[in-house]
């Protein structure tokens, strides 16, 4: 009977292994069929765009042909300006993200683990969340000037809320049964954090970080539109002022690419500690969320 049981369990395990295998296949960095499928829609849109330009359906003053946009980007690249603009924008996002994420992590841990801290701090934080983040702009400019500090501050505010909310909720939602298990096995407070709380909250925390990063990109545009002499956002304003839609569209595309790349990097960095998750994503090869 025990043998039969073992066979049954082995079979059960095998079928699990196949799904695990799919996950490890999918996590190789070579593009799979699913990734290629993802390129179909943007490439199709570019083709449509090209057709619209070639047939004169699109007004070149408003929507220049794809080739012209590419030409503008290449020209900017060759002059060295583009690298400069991208670096400045990336730097702002990175700085704001760092400040926002650190503040959110500290406060999220505090309000997540201590009832007192939550009752004391959380209502205020929730109330601040209700302020549309762009409404801070006038105040930040007044306080921190029109240069880098006010921009970083604005981006940090944008990053803060998704990270904070996800982390606090995740800590509060940790299964009480697992905490009890830690108690039965004599884990100290720190050991409980290290072995139970931290890994249990990590998925939601990463979701928060990725959401925060997306908002960081959103807010860097706002910050650069409101006054800057460098950066992708400045490039767009410049294109608008000088009537060059190709520049605006080029900057738009660069924003999309940069946002994708940074999100992907964050995903890559956190993929390994999250590999244990038994989710639909791991069944489908782990790429859909990337």
């Amino acid at each position: 009977m025990a043998v039969l049981d073992d066979i049954k369990e082995t079979i059960g395990l095998r079928s699990d292994h196949t799904t695990g295998g799919a996950a490890s296949r999918g996590s190789s960095l070579l593009p799979g069929r699913g990734t290629l499928l993802g390129f179909a829609l943007p490439l199709g849109l570019v083709a449509l765009w090209q057709v619209a330009s070639a047939t004169g359906f699109a007004d070149p003053q408003l929507l220049p042909a794809p080739g012209e946009v590419l030409g503008e980007i290449v020209a900017l690249w060759q002059s060295g300006d583009l690298v400069e603009h991208i670096a400045v924008t990336m730097g702002r996002v990175a700085g704001g993200f760092l400040w926002g994420a650190v503040a959110a992590t500290v406060l999220g841990i505090l309000t997540g683990t201590s009832t007192w801290a939550r009752q004391f701090l959380d209502p205020t934080i929730q109330a601040l969340k209700a302020v549309p983040s762009l409404a801070w702009v006038p105040l930040f400019i007044l306080w921190f000037g029109i240069f880098e500090d006010s921009k970083l501050m604005l981006i940090a505010v944008g990053v803060f809320f998704p990270v904070y909310l996800n982390l606090m909720t995740a800590i509060r939602d940790v299964d009480r049964k697992l905490i009890e298990l830690a108690r039965v096995n004599g884990l100290s407070r720190w050991q409980t954090v290290r072995w139970v709380l931290l890994p249990a909250t990590l998925p939601a925390y990463v979701t928060g970080l990725r959401g925060g990063l997306a908002l960081g990109w959103m807010f860097v545009v706002a910050a650069e539109l409101m006054g800057a002499s460098e950066g992708l956002g400045f490039l767009m304003i410049d294109g608008q002022m000088t009537g060059r839609p190709a520049i605006i569209i080029g900057a738009l595309i660069l924003f999309a690419i940069a946002g994708q790349i940074t999100d992907k990097l964050l995903w890559l960095a956190t993929r390994k500690p999250l590999a244990w998750q038994d989710t639909l994503d791991s069944l489908e090869g782990g790429r859909n969320n990337a």
């Binding site: 369990e9 699990d16 049964k177 298990l181 096995n185 004599g186 884990l187 072995w195």
Partner: protein, 245 residues
């Protein structure tokens, strides 16, 4: 020897009512005994088990293990819950190792490997919980409880979520482990056949307030045939006793 002396456990509900979960419960559990707690739901059997584990404290009375009061979880007392409660981010080895965090590395590795061998999971040492069947996961939970070499193993309906075939296999397995080691088992169950097949004594509890109604001694040899007349007639007696409640 685990002694339960005149225990009361009362809870106060949010609206101020007092629930008497256990009232005047006394019981002496002998060394290397298997004892089952049975009763309808709400009779206090799980509350009693939590008091024995040190996770909860009696309102009145004492729980003593070899003369020392049990007031917090200790390595002497192992616990297996109804669900395996494995940490999904750790391998089988690390899940068992969580019970030995303060043990030196090499000793820990040896003890974990030995206990996994004992529950027949050596081949799955590096598997993640999501790759295990329900029966295997519960065996990991048993291994994690046993790796601390407890003198008492508390089990809270440990087989109730398993299919009947896996359940019997696992019951026999626990019986084998119990024979090889020298621990005492306190088993909460609502499965009377399980209680009769495994136990030296079955404690029938009655709810509201939770009390011990009667203690039934079973002194036939183990392993017991589940289909035998003796087991089935005891099961009938116990069913009748529970229905009297």
């Amino acid at each position: 020897m685990l002694e339960i002396q005149d225990i009361c456990r009362r809870f106060t509900t949010p609206d101020g009512a007092v629930v008497r979960a256990l009232e005047d419960v006394s019981l002496t559990i002998r060394e290397h005994e298997i004892i089952s707690l049975v009763g309808t739901s709400g009779c206090g059997k799980s509350t009693l088990l939590r008091l024995l584990s040190g996770l909860d404290h009696p309102t009145e009375g004492l729980v003593q293990l070899d003369g020392r009061t049990v007031d917090k979880p200790s390595p002497e007392i192992g616990m297996v819950f109804q669900e395996p409660r494995l940490l999904p981010w750790l391998t089988v080895t690390d899940n068992v190792g969580v019970a030995l965090l303060d043990t030196p590395k090499t000793e820990k590795a040896e003890r974990v490997a030995a206990v996994l061998e004992k529950v027949g999971l050596t081949k799955f040492a590096d598997a993640l919980p999501r790759q295990l069947s329900g029966g295997m996961a519960q065996r990991v939970a048993i291994a994690r409880a046993l790796v601390r070499r407890p003198s008492i193993l508390l089990m809270d309906e440990p087989f109730s979520a398993l299919d009947s075939f896996t359940k019997q296999t696992l019951q026999d397995h626990v019986l084998d482990l119990w024979r090889d080691e020298s621990f005492t088992v306190v088993l909460v169950t609502h499965d009377l056949e399980e209680a009769v097949t495994l136990s030296d004594r079955v404690v029938v509890m009655r709810g509201n307030p939770g009390r011990i109604d009667r203690v039934v001694e079973i002194d036939s040899k183990r392993p017991r045939d589940r289909t035998s007349d003796a087991v089935q007639s005891l099961k009938r007696d116990l069913t009748a006793a529970l229905h009297l409640n």
